[in-house]
């Protein structure tokens, strides 16, 4: 007799359906209308066939960022992630048997604390937009005010997520202009939006257009609101920690720290704040403590904020987060170290700005923003009829992100334009190929 039959015998049943006798006949279904399962070898062949219809970065240089980026990932990072003790674990509910994950996540929090200057970091949010949404909710929970001030040049996706996150609180989103010349902050516009109802002011550095603007350091002086800064964590290898110019909350996209683009997910929402606000923070937080015999030990802490305990009154509904992506980020920063991170940031800023200069010098292309860029920049394209994007594609180059034609962004003042991204992944050959192609497509 098979195990299966013996187990049925043990339960005193003849037919497996007896275990489903509690499901009323009227709602029963007879199986699932899907094909038979495949053997592993056939699946391997099938998935290669399907994936053959994707063109990856290694088959075609892609100069796109806009929220998710191609960066060099040391092989060691993938090696660490392949440890199934890490990736087949659940949330560390039993800390004694999960010290490895807990310590690694504590190290992730520590890295983000060093980069942002803010000591209280959670063990991850889903992505930058949901971090922003949570920041706005937290601001309301701190000061009870209802207006969130955000830049007009924010990516539509981020704004849409933010709107959904604050819907339940009836918060109002107010936009401040960007400086059409520099692409940075229109400081007068921002000033004019701040009032007694301002709960939070949000600024990005670099912003959606890739611009790094000194004005961000002057925002704190404008009032007593929650000041949230959106960062690119790699840029923090060379840029000032936001705590130095008065940030209360720092958010950002952590995918770039050692994680592939993966068609836009998984991502990693960075979330850091000051100690005085920890009881209002969303998400899992790892703390350092001791076990009963005095050994250093790590544990999920401040759990009374969370949904499994506080239920309807929790600071957030988040349960599953992006822990493994945070592990990758810790591993990435460990392999790079201080000098490596600084160097990656330098290569990015230098390469992007020099590529920008070169594209500008080609007839027909214009840079609408004079500000300093980190690793992204907008280029106004020649006549729409030329269809630069398709022409580049036919040369096996994927150009930048078409700001006004994809998704729901609307920046009519920019017309037909592309947001280019250049990182250390783009070789000089790739860049030269792009420059040549851009030249050729204009008659």
């Amino acid at each position: 007799m098979s195990d299966y039959e013996e187990m049925m015998n043990f339960l005193g049943i003849k037919n497996i359906d007896e275990l489903f006798s509690d499901i009323p006949e009227s709602v029963k279904i007879n199986g699932i209308d899907l094909p038979e399962g495949m053997d592993e070898n056939s699946l391997r062949i099938e998935m290669r066939k399907i994936l053959g219809r994707n063109r990856s970065f290694f088959e075609m240089p892609i100069f796109m960022g806009a929220g998710v980026y191609f960066h060099y990932i040391p092989s060691a990072v993938f090696s660490i992630l392949s440890r199934s003790e890490f990736y087949t674990a659940y949330t560390p509910y039993q800390p004694e048997i999960s010290q490895g994950m807990l310590q690694t996540l504590f190290e992730y929090q520590s890295y983000i604390a060093e980069l942002t200057g803010l000591p209280a970091v959670n063990a991850s949010m889903y992505d930058a937009p949901t971090s922003l949404g949570e920041a706005a909710r937290m601001a309301y929970n701190i000061n009870g005010k209802k207006e969130v001030i955000i830049p007009k040049n924010i990516q539509w996706e981020k704004k849409s997520v933010l709107l959904n996150y604050v819907k339940g609180l009836d918060m109002k989103i107010v936009e401040y202009d960007y400086d059409k010349k520099t692409g940075g902050i229109d400081f007068e516009s921002l000033k004019s939006k701040i009032n007694d109802n301002t709960s939070m002011v949000y600024a990005e550095i670099p912003n959606f257009f890739g611009v790094i603007d000194e004005n961000v350091t002057k925002i704190r002086e404008l009032g007593n609101f929650i000041f949230t800064v959106g960062v690119n964590p790699i840029s923090l290898g060379i840029l000032k920690a936001p705590v130095d110019y008065g940030a209360d909350i720092v958010i950002g996209e952590g995918q770039i720290l050692g994680n592939p683009a993966s068609f836009g997910g998984p991502l990693l929402g960075i979330f850091a704040t000051k100690m005085e606000y920890i009881r209002k923070m969303p998400g899992r937080i790892i703390g350092m403590s001791r076990d009963h015999s005095g050994r250093r030990a790590f544990v999920m802490t401040l759990q009374t904020r969370e949904q499994h305990i506080r239920r309807a009154k929790a600071t957030s509904n988040i349960c599953s987060n992006e822990a493994l992506v945070a592990v990758a980020s810790a591993a990435y920063l460990s392999v790079l170290g201080k000098s490596g991170l600084k160097r990656v940031a330098e290569i990015n800023i230098n390469r992007a700005n020099s590529t920008l200069e070169k594209i500008k010098s080609i007839k027909g292309y214009r840079s609408p923003h004079s500000g300093l860029h980190f690793n992204e920049f907008v280029i106004s394209l020649p006549d729409k009829e030329i269809n630069v994007h398709k022409k580049l594609l036919s040369k096996n180059i994927h150009g930048g992100y078409m700001i006004n034609t994809m998704t729901r962004n609307s920046f009519p003042e920019l017309g037909e334009s592309m947001l280019f991204n250049v990182t250390e992944m783009h070789s000089s050959d790739d860049i030269n190929k792009l420059l040549e192609a851009l030249k050729e497509v204009v008659p």
């Binding site: 899907l34 504590f106 000098s339 330098e346």
Partner: protein, 486 residues
């Protein structure tokens, strides 16, 4: 049953000193761009270590962690089944990792096909009419579903519906998501069979009810036999019925949310569809809806015209976005592979075996631990450790002692309606041998509780650290290395 987890006195990476060995592309290029002083960084305290030292550090830490690849992981409501390795192989290919979400559709047809096929399969499994793959976790799925509930009522100019009803056995995320979407949560008590109390439901329902949120089987592992009455009751009051898919593993191929009358469902790919949980995430929480709610789904939706797949942003009543792009594609691809491997019959058999395993374990442990409510369970069973209280032992002690035997503990103290709860979900992938071993361990612990309760109270001893002072961690939070230095 001997077990010892590795013990390394592994310092924090910040406490190690070394030198970077990894080389970066074009490192020699002269750095020219100048940054204004007001933005220039002056100090950065990040450690430097040799690549191999970093590897050793994290490999040692991994040895002090526990995954389902090591042994049984019977966390209730978490569905810790085996994660097929071929799915990881798929997710690690360049054409998955190194593609951009905004790439020209012609260059990502493979990715779109995988997403489209996954969405169509989920429709068939759940009997729903439309799906979004965008939510990146179960709770994100709940939030998405509740935003759809809200948009649906508001679209009908019905602005009174501000209440979400949940049973007291609900997952904590249900009320938390309902708050986030701007609703008030009404909690109703379960009846003496551990099921929805129809009278309580009826008196809670009103013209203010937006939706009733339940999971079926519920968190006790009990199938809600009155599900049709519940659906009729909810719909007759103009409210919607929401299915929390955390427990879908108990019913695949036997019944389906759409068949039971649910309007909205979220599924947890990291549970039912075998994607690894990553020590806390990433997961994925796709949301399915019936036809009357399709127009409210997040954008973009994935369409197929018979030749080409494409992303459609033109959905007039869409709630917009709930995450940056299209969801956790790396997770979606794995779930697609799992469904391909299993097929329709395989999924039904998975449910059958999961339910067989649960009831087998339930019968083996009956008599050693209290079993509140009825016997027949679906994907999970909830015992109570109340019978051990007389020996001065609590469920927490049982859980910690289980770690000493090299198995993970069940979910404890949940659902809240069971005192000293031990919520066990073995899943279909545990063999009879491993179920017997788990039962043997738990029976032995019940015996130890009686004869030598100190063994439980001092547990765990075979892990790198013993019980941790959580009170101190809460009182004096140390959340980063920065705070240790001070």
């Amino acid at each position: 049953m001997t077990f010892h987890q590795a013990i390394w006195d592994e310092p924090l990476i910040f406490e190690k000193k070394g030198k970077r060995t990894v080389r970066l592309p074009d490192e020699d290029i002269e750095y020219k761009t100048s940054i204004p002083d007001s933005l220039k960084r002056d100090m950065l305290n990040i450690p430097e270590n040799e690549e191999h030292e970093v590897l050793r550090h994290y490999v040692r830490l991994s040895q002090m962690n526990y995954g389902v690849d090591i042994n049984t992981y019977p966390l209730g409501s978490c569905t810790m089944k085996f994660n097929p390795k071929i799915a990881d192989e798929l997710a690690s290919m360049d054409q998955v990792r190194y593609i951009h979400p905004y790439q020209d559709e012609d260059t990502v047809q493979g990715a779109l096909q995988i997403m489209y096929e996954l969405q169509e399969s989920l429709k068939k499994i759940t009997y729903m009419d439309g799906f979004t793959l965008q939510p990146v976790a179960g709770a994100d799925g709940e939030f998405t579903g509740l935003l759809i509930v809200r948009a649906f009522h508001e679209d009908r100019k019905d602005f009174k519906r501000k209440e979400i009803i949940v049973p007291d056995s609900a997952h904590g995320t249900n009320p938390a998501s309902s708050t986030m979407a701007g609703f008030t949560t009404i909690e109703i008590p379960s009846n003496e069979q551990g099921m929805v109390d129809l009278n309580a439901l009826e008196s809670a329902l009103s013209e203010k009810t937006a939706a009733f949120m339940i999971t079926n089987p519920n968190t006790l592992g009990i199938f809600e036999e009155n599900i049709e009455k519940i659906a009729n009751l909810v719909h007759s009051h103009g409210a919607l019925l929401y299915y929390d898919g955390a427990n879908l593993n108990g019913i695949m191929g036997k019944t389906a949310p759409g068949k039971m009358g649910f309007d909205i469902v979220h599924v947890n790919l990291h549970k039912t569809f075998a994607t690894p949980h990553g020590g806390g995430g990433p997961g994925a929480g796709p949301v399915g809806v019936k036809s009357h709610l399709i127009d409210f789904l997040p954008v973009p939706v994935i369409k197929f015209d018979g030749k080409k797949y494409h992303l459609d942003y033109n959905l007039g009543k869409s709630i917009g976005k709930v995450a940056m792009f299209y969801g956790n594609f790396g997770v979606l691809a794995r779930a697609w592979a799992y469904i391909k491997l299993m097929g329709g019959n395989g999924l039904r058999e998975a449910t059958e075996r999961a339910v067989l395993n649960t009831n087998y374990l339930r019968k083996k442990l009956q008599g050693y631990y209290d079993l509140p409510y009825k016997e027949l369970r679906k994907h999970e069973v909830v015992f109570s450790g109340v019978n051990l209280k007389k020996y001065g032992v609590r469920t927490l002690d049982v859980a910690k002692r289980m770690l000493d035997y090299g198995v993970h503990a069940p979910t404890i103290y949940f659902p809240l309606i069971v005192e000293e709860a031990l919520m066990i979900e073995p899943t279909e992938t545990e063999s009879r041998e491993s179920l017997d071993r788990l039962a043997e361990i738990m029976i032995k612990i019940a015996d130890e509780a009686q004869k030598n309760p100190e063994l439980l109270k001092e547990a765990p001893k075979n892990t790198p650290v013993g019980r941790i002072d959580e009170v101190e961690a809460n009182r004096n939070p140390i959340l980063s290395y920065k705070m240790i230095k001070k």
